[in-house]
Symmetry: D2
């Protein structure tokens, strides 16, 4: 069986997935989608570009031309677009932070009045917490809005305005693999940072799932399955699903859980592509 691993920046994850796929019996070829136009129809494609749109279009292209893709384009989009994630999850009754969708800076300031301060303002797209802002008052919100207005990306002009889920700086990340949740972990923001992204220096600890794993399973199903990670905030009022990642990093989770996460993912993908 042949698997094409499409990437742009080869991280630890991509190298380990290639190893895992080979160990699971697949022949692996690599495609750097940053260097060549998309072409061919390779049968089974593991979609791993870091950039969300590169991942989305890679998956859309190959699934439109007859290949099986992991993740499917619908999943990458539903996870990569935080507005869509929110609406899908809340439509399924999965708890999420109280949120408003504002299509301009002016609407975001109006949403701020309705939600109340402090609040979180974030754009629909972006990884590692980038541009996710903890806004303490209307003046600081205006400063953020003015800056955002200067970035000429239409999608970054959209604001998700959200309640702050206390306590900040801690979340639970679970991995979802075709309906199963093999591992979760707790992430704690480093000192002086409220965002608990591993890329920002968060510490990780093992965590045995329970309610979080169940929520992660429902969230993974809601965005369409495949292989995703789910970020859950353990709020004082109960757990809420914060975000879903359609091209998940999992180095921290491998470390925290002691499991061969890339091997688990790779085996599942080989089975999926063999169906």
């Amino acid at each position: 069986m042949e698997v094409l691993l499409a990437y742009d920046h080869p991280r630890w994850e991509e190298k380990e997935l290639a190893r895992g796929l080979r160990e699971a019996g697949a022949r692996v070829s690599m495609l750097n989608v940053a260097r060549q136009p998309l072409s061919g129809s390779p049968g089974c494609v593991l979609v791993r570009p870091v950039s969300m749109y590169r991942a989305y279009y890679t998956s859309l292209y190959y699934s439109s031309t007859g290949s099986t893709t992991v993740n499917r384009p619908e999943v990458i989009r539903a996870a990569g677009d935080k507005v869509e994630t929110l609406l899908l999850l809340s439509g399924r009754g999965i708890p999420v932070p109280r949120s408003m969708i504002a299509l301009t800076g002016e609407a975001a300031l109006a949403a701020g009045e309705a939600i109340g301060y402090p609040l979180v303002d974030k754009p629909p797209i972006g990884s590692w917490g980038r541009l996710v802002s903890l806004v303490r008052d209307p003046g600081a919100h205006r400063d953020i809005v003015e800056h955002r207005d200067m970035i000429p990306s239409p999608q970054l002009q959209v604001h998700i305005v959200q309640e702050v889920v206390e306590p900040v700086g801690v979340d639970v990340r679970c991995l979802y693999v075709f309906g199963e949740v093999p591992a979760c972990m707790v992430r704690r923001a480093p000192r002086g940072e409220w965002r608990s992204n591993v890329a920002r220096g968060a510490g990780v600890e093992p965590f045995s799932g329970g309610e979080a794993a169940e929520l992660a399973a429902r969230a993974g199903d809601a965005v369409g399955g495949g292989v995703v990670s789910v970020d859950i905030l353990p709020g004082s009022g109960g757990m809420v699903v914060n975000e879903v990642n359609g091209v998940p990093e999992f180095r921290g989770l491998a470390r925290a859980s002691g499991l061969d996460i890339p091997g688990i993912i790779a085996s599942a993908i080989v089975s999926w592509c063999r169906r």
Copy 2:
């Protein structure tokens, strides 16, 4: 019956659609989505923001919260994202310009070598031909790519590299309304411009559909129906579908056809929402 008309910039189209909806028996309320966060669930929503992402999120929000939307979010996205349009159409066997999808500038230059010059390079999103470039040689392509790299919008880093369909400067635009094609027209680019957008000063003439109308019907079905316009290039090798617009302007078509286009659209929407 109540219809919410969601807009950002009220053009002639929005005013005429409001009139048409009222004449068709609806009570119309207006919502400027640029000023307030999205809220409520108004039953039937006519989605008319000029900005594609505003239109998409408006439709996604209201359809997720139980309203009937025209267009549905899938349609606005499938038409608004030219990569998705291309893949959907060619997947259905509808003729489109020969195209390659390149996820970086470097890949676009490689696509240029494969397609050959002159060629058209355009990003996946954008209206009125904005950033659609007619590129004569690899050097000019490199200049365009360098400029594009400086615009910090992830989606604008994606290039559709496309054959030039001769003759340039003329196309057929048809309106599609829930499976019907009530009118088409020919658009001719003004002197010194190769893009035939009415916003760029193109002249319009009536055109009785035939093959174009049939192609438009298939293209409208392919992107998911509703109310869209379809741009068709009358190439020397046969007609090809160039783009589909999910929040169509139709002032030029009303003038060219002599028909009450907003009335036709409004009646169809009222029937659709009543179902």
Copy 3:
């Protein structure tokens, strides 16, 4: 005598200056520098584009080709670049807010630790307080820095990190005309805004100069003379000069002072160009 009034957006100020120049005996021709390349050498040029770089290059071009310009390019640059203003003023012993110059976001965060929070972070260029941010803590500073990093303008990557001069929301603006200070006013920020720009809704009151007028005269001399406005913060520790504007707006000052400000400026320019 002939005066060329170079503009891009004709505001009240430009119309009144044209009137004043005519009343002072000049023949006035108008040039919209947004529409045509710069050309000619008209003798005396009043430089009034709203955009700082348009004003600067207009003045640089005409002064390089032999015309007398008001303001001279050095003045427009020294006032328009807030780093240069700061360094010029403090080099002359004129009191300014305690400030650090940081050439990247990372350096700005280090400057924040040195200055202490709350602080003001602003880029070297910009009018009407745009992007001038009141930052309450290091986390909010990181949010601003991340946003700024996404704006692809090299000059906006530079941060002026500054103490907050209490009380916020009030300043004194004086007009400087070739060494004289004909009028000052007090500006008070509207409710819910700390920036006292008239364009942001600040209220204005007459103010008889005294110490402020003297500071304004020194600041105007320091940036090279001509016609500028000077913003002074009446801090609890004494007055400090905050900014200088090289293409000043003065509608608020005309209202507050009851003087014919455009007439005063126009007469001075005619005398200057006649020398």
Copy 4:
């Protein structure tokens, strides 16, 4: 004697300059201006950031606080801003390409009609030929202008519209050191590229100056002296000065000339700072 070498990205040039300064008897300390705010007054500063604005503000800061800087801020700005370079050179009677200054895209298209096609369109700032476009016709010019309009940097909205100096793809680069011109070289653009920047793969050959060296000396004087490189186009109608670089790279020149260029520069700086 102490010299502060201020840098952001340490290239071969910075390392060799540090070596040369030490060999010339200076104690060298290094400052990464990308990491810390500017501070202190170190006496003698060699200004070497790659980014023009970082270099400019570094020089402006240190020269305002009493240090001797190489280059002085006026030189870095006069060389870094290609509009200012052009006006300074032509004001001194030094031949330059026929050029127009256009402050908007619309003005650039009007300049294109006046200059005629093909032409060169470039912004006032930028290194290694970035955004310098060879434009074949008005349609291609419109494509470039539309792209430029999307980059939210005010200075990039300014266009220098210039005749093409034939033959393209070849220029002479000379180094200017405090009034002397120790070496020149010829650069030839690689195949498929018309820009002769070494960073773009240009080949270099030794060149003994003559007329070019004399032009370089006049151009270096015109921008204010110090250490700069001068790019000269050997046009069929005679040599013209194209650009001046205020923080010059010289690795190619060291290779082509066989001289110890960093040593030559370092000795001159030590002498200069000792004065």
